[in-house]
């Protein structure tokens, strides 16, 4: 298994974890729409 593949997979895993944490912290809040604010 080449080094580039191991590094890419590791970085993708870290990226995926970051996206998941970000989504859990901020992604679930619904953005108020025009209709909601009226």
């Amino acid at each position: 298994m080449p080094v580039w593949f191991e590094l890419a997979v590791t970085m993708l895993a870290a990226y995926g974890a970051g996206v998941a944490i970000g989504w859990a912290l901020w992604g679930r809040e619904t953005v108020p729409t025009q209709e909601d604010s009226e």
Binding site: M1, P2, V3, W4, E6, L7, A8, V9, T10, M11, L12, Y15, G16, V19
Partner: protein
Amino acid sequence: MRIRPALAILSGAVLVAAMGYSIALSTAASFIEPLEEEAQAAIAKAGGRGVTARFATPAGAPSRHPLLTGGRRLPEDTRARVAQAVAAVPGVGGVFWSDGTIRASNARDRYEPLHCQEDVDGLLRSRSIRFEEGSNRMLPASQLLLDEVADSLRPCLGAIISITGHTDNSGTEPGNIALSMQRARAVREALVRRGIPRDGLRARGVGSAKPVAGLTPDDPANRRIEFAVIRTEPLTPTPVDTPGAR
């Protein structure tokens, strides 16, 4: 213009993968070179004359997983020692031989039962597992003894342990055999409740056929439970990561 989240995440992933690839291209050589030097030193130390470690894939990309070549005339144990020495270098991944790879047969780490038979015999030398008269219900004091027996048998997991119930010769022999069988089964269940796997335990009852040597068959001391480690099954750890001679 609103960017679709899935597209943004996917683009980020592609970008991250591309970064990983480019970082690896520029740094892999400086990472692999010390590994190669340490691996060659380990090979020399292990007596692997003529063996070389190539830290690259067949396509030529640098890799942490070396391909060992040469050393065809070396004895098998030397080849295994060389492969294990290379695998022990920090940072090295799986080791393979160019002429075909099998994992090591890890004969040295064979499981040895730890004198369970002697430990149990020692426990039962001065005390015995006692039951209520004509019943397979154990006396409370015997529960404590059984705790100790279970602790002694625990290192012998993987062994077949025979539990034999005996009685004195009061009553009819068919009744005695049935009672001794029930008592042996009661002990087996008690051991299972204490965490000993059921499939390693064999219960049997022999009635009053085998009194204790030196005692008359009607002596109440013949009511007893005996344990015997009748077969051991060596458990060889699966050598998943241990490289072998080929």
